[in-house]
Symmetry: none
Subunit: 75 residues, 3 copies
Amino acid sequence: MEAAAAAYLGMGLCAAGFFGAAIGIANIFATTIETVGRQPNAEGRVAKYCWIGFALVEAVALYALVLAFILMGKA
Amino acid sequence: MEAAAAAYLGMGLCAAGFFGAAIGIANIFATTIETVGRQPNAEGRVAKYCWIGFALVEAVALYALVLAFILMGKA
Amino acid sequence: MEAAAAAYLGMGLCAAGFFGAAIGIANIFATTIETVGRQPNAEGRVAKYCWIGFALVEAVALYALVLAFILMGKA
């Protein structure tokens, strides 16, 4: 296998990180919806965890995206 | 393996990101359905988390789609 | 591996997106069934989330289908 071919394969494998990030972000928002629906006056307290949790999971997805673009530059 | 072949395989691997995004978007809407069914007056409060959560998970799916089209251009 | 062979393998990998979409759509409808069964008068309110959620998850499955047809054209 030549180097450019392996870099393209590696970019495809980076999409596996998006897989988990998508499930995780959805889980955070689903739990927020359920909690705000059950205790409406808790919205102010839980919303900050919702946004911080989203940002931290998104950061993991961006690690995979950065690696994919680094591989793109190597091909 | 030649470079074009690896790029085609990489496009297929990008579909793994769609896998997680589909489960995640469905999870958000399923929780919204359950919450709105249980507390009808909570619909206005939870709907915003439903749409924002959907958009953010869809964004992760679009990262994978962008990588797939970049690979298509390399093939 | 020659390019046509890799394109066929990539088309097969695109089915991974269908896997998640099938589970997700089923999750949305299962939750709708449970919610409507428990609160019959909530059907009008939750039905719109059911159809919108289905359409948005189906859209993710169609991304994978489009990628599969693009790969079919390359083989």
